[in-house]
Subunit: 530 residues, 2 copies
């Protein structure tokens, strides 16, 4: 058993100068747990950033294989935390142990995915243009290009994924893979979980000879510790999964720095689901069950929760609604992650209920825990959506709103009025889909991921995932925070002109010692240059 000490873990040393005023909470009961945490002082924040800056000078030179070994060792150390991690995480978040276990697997798999990418080595997009000293009118120089890490990255933990989007989650894994040290601001909803995972990372760092400062964990308030981190000159990028307010505040602060830095904030979305007439007729029961399950999965606490469904009123839509009512009434709520999330959910629900033209179609079952969310399914019409565009804003929790459309044009118009979202889903028969290519075309411009005949919850961690989307879904619609492409949030390309072979990084040497894919004079190849 690891003792929870409640300190800042700044590289390989512990610090606790600040007041021990943070308490860990049992989210299911609302009771305080025995763990107390010190808030990072200004000096401690600065120390973590300075150490990260120093560590970058060593860490950036580690080979892909060395970094892969570090990530693999983190995965192993997380496994070693065993039941203690599952127990504490479940207490702090009210998430069931089975969910925590599967999230632990995902966290480990993310680390291993990046490790595997680093071992293979082609990810850094090596490009070579060989010299042509005889070219007219000017000789062509030898140019070689690859990606390097930006520098120390600040990552903020997400409340809703205490492992997979937290201390050793996707942002940390991709930043470390890119060659960037990480200063991690723990989420106050799971500080003990954070400490356990941070200790696993630091143990792995020591075992694999990574530099002091390659990782630090800090506790404190986002608008104090978080803002200080984002403004520190050593910090070169920021990763966050959180609310619009938090993400936008960090984006603004980063843009106003003397030297602005990129902020990758994934701020959630409503993830609209469009149901086309054929799909609605074909299998109303399955569709209704799938939708009700997606809305209420994990007490609706997913960024990709489908918060809005748009469908066409016709002879079969009544049957579909009956099925949906029955399916939804069969769902259950449960304890939410934090008081703040529960209060925001309650406020959001009340906002819908205050509008006359919004009906309650169905309610899920109440449960007795602390902060237990009551699943709510609302229904309205396209005119009400037009009059209240804020209905398309996310309410984080087990709720969704059905919007009934009279015509295809109304549906297209609603699609055009959407702002940026992470996902959009279309349910349709083959015939439906072919008749709605215009809808697909509009939605492709609004989101990072289009789902056909499925549900948006469940984000596959792989090379082809985009978990991102145009503003306000994220602060940088060109990025993804899930999948292998997420590494490019924390890199930039550098090119070397006429550099002697012996000084080139291995990835760019003529003989291609790592046997990676490279673009040589515009042709993709694994061949060496002779």
């Amino acid at each position: 058993m690891i003792q929870i000490e409640g300190k800042q873990l700044i590289g390989f040393t512990d610090h606790a100068e600040g007041a021990k005023t943070l308490r860990s909470t049992n989210a299911s009961t609302g009771d305080k747990l025995q763990y107390t945490f010190s808030k990072a002082t200004r000096d401690e924040v600065a120390l973590a950033c300075e150490k990260a800056g120093t560590a970058f000078q060593t860490y950036r030179k580690k080979t892909g294989i060395e970094k892969a070994y570090f990530l693999e060792t983190i995965a192993m150390e997380i496994e070693e935390l065993g039941e203690q991690l599952i127990d504490i995480c479940s207490q702090e978040t009210a998430l069931p142990k089975t969910r925590i276990e599967s999230e632990r697997n995902r966290t480990k798999n993310q680390l291993l995915m990046f490790a595997s990418m680093l071992r293979e080595g082609s990810w850094l997009d090596a490009r070579i243009e060989t010299a042509d000293p005889l070219r007219k009118p000017l000789p062509k120089p030898d140019m070689r290009y690859l990606h390097v890490g930006l520098g120390p990255v600040v990552v903020f933990g997400a409340s809703n994924f205490p492992l997979a989007f937290s201390v050793a989650g996707g942002d940390t894994a991709s930043a470390l893979a890119a060659g960037c040290p990480v200063v991690f601001k723990a989420h106050s909803a799971h500080p003990a979980t954070s400490e356990l995972v941070a200790k696993a990372i630091l143990s792995a760092a020591k075992q694999t000879q990574m530099p002091d400062g390659v990782f630090s964990l800090l506790h404190g308030d986002g608008n104090v510790v978080g803002m200080q981190l984002v403004k520190h000159s050593q910090i070169k990028a920021v990763g966050l999964t959180g609310s619009f307010a938090a993400g936008k505040a960090l984006f603004d602060a980063a843009a106003q720095r003397e030297h602005p830095i990129p902020v990758y904030a994934e701020m959630g979305s409503t993830n609209p689901v469009f149901v086309l007439p054929g799909a609605l007729r074909k299998n109303p029961e399955e569709l209704a069950k799938g939708f009700a399950a997606s809305v209420t999965l994990g007490v609706g606490q997913f960024c990709t929760n489908p918060g809005m469904m748009l469908y066409r009123k016709d002879t079969s839509s009544e049957i579909f609604l009956q099925n949906l009512k029955a399916a939804f009434e069969n769902t259950s709520g449960g304890a939410m992650l934090t008081d703040g999330i529960f209060n925001a959910y309650t406020t959001g629900i009340a906002r819908h209920q205050a509008i006359d033209q919004i009906d309650v179609l169905a309610q899920g079952k109440r449960t007795g825990e602390n902060n237990s969310a009551h699943p709510m399914l609302f229904k309205t019409t396209s005119h009400v959506l037009s009059d209240h565009p804020d209905l398309a804003e996310e309410i984080f929790g087990p709720t969704s709103i059905l919007v009934e459309m009279q015509t295809k044009d109304e549906m297209l118009s609603a699609a055009r009025n959407l702002s940026g979202h992470l996902t959009a889903t279309i349910h349709g028969t083959e015939e439906d889909l072919l008749a709605h290519e215009d809808l697909l075309d509009i939605l492709t411009q609004k989101v990072g991921r289009i789902i056909i005949n499925g549900f948006p919850t469940g984000v596959e961690v792989c090379s082809a995932m985009v978990h991102g989307g145009p503003f306000p879904a994220t602060t940088d619609g060109r990025s993804t925070s899930v999948g292998t492409a997420s590494i490019f949030r924390f890199t930039r390309a550098v090119s070397f002109q006429n550099m002697p072979q012996q000084m080139l990084p291995a990835e760019l040497k003529d003989e291609n010692p790592l046997a990676i894919w490279r673009l040589i004079n515009g042709v993709r190849t694994k061949e060496a240059i002779k």
Copy 2:
């Protein structure tokens, strides 16, 4: 001969509601030319943006081959402008006709480079993860990923490259290649040149059936028309090569929009050149001549002009300085591009001269044109640089400052104190270079391109170029504005989950009809999926 009409070219229609108060100037004489231009009104600016938004809905669906044909036709139409383009451009900029001719070649080659990339098709990074319905605990969905254009892009013309970084320059070519319509704000230093090239683009657009609004040209003030463009809701990204003040103002305006958008401003840099002892001893004459030529090439009006040289004082440095003095005194100035650039040059030179510890090592020859810059080579010591860090800021024009160092440590310290630049250069023998790997390591963190034993002027347009660098060299250190990778400034990735084959873009269909490179389940291949 094409008549210069001085209107806004908004898609396929001309507009001239604003006052005709812009005059084209003969830069060599300062005389006004016969061409007058109307400044775009607010309504005209809005119309260009709205037309670009509408055009995007068609243009984004054009195939790679259709877009390639458009770009190739633009190159042909520019060639068709013949001597009229060379004459007018040379008058407006005071650049010699041979330089304009080679810049026209570069402009055409850039268009053809992107056309070739579009015809080949692999650039959009297609990624496919095939489904595994039997995977436990959850089935794996079919995920397919590719890059799409962001939407309409505003591009600002650069004064110093009236063709290659102007109307049909690299920013326009890469945005059009990405599938983004372009609204172009002409630089007031070469409005007639801009009109000619814009007409070539619009003629190509008509010939190749591109939509009305795929390209527009506007005249006016940067802080009026430019700001309105950057704030327009239809605009999704901005490209600029210009001053720090202009780039930073646009960056701030874009970050403060309700929906922030990326700004890629290349704002120039001092491009430090480090000369190591062996190189200085080995061939002082050649090095001196090469440096003097690079500083004064094109009256020093290049973003990559080497504005600072750092070297170690030793027994051979005096010989090198004598060579440099002789070589520099043999250089000539010439007419600068605009009054504003000449005045800024004069002010910058006066700022150096006002500091006691900065000496004039050499002066180039004066010439008699309007706004003729006098080449100036200054010399100082590392202590003065430490006391006046603004000496490392760019003075745009034919000048540079030599900084004499006593020790290697002083040189490393000066390197560490650099902010972001486009390039850094090291001159060294093989022995020198191996003894200065620490210097190379520092510089790699400060710039987009490292040059060994060469000079930074001359930016090869190819797949392996990075013409970018950390702030303040650019507003987005992750990007390049030259080379094929510049297209990714104007794209984002989208993924499709479980999309039926017939609705997928050709690049993502199983059979790989375009025979492009794809990443399938993590493996790079041109194979079809069976």
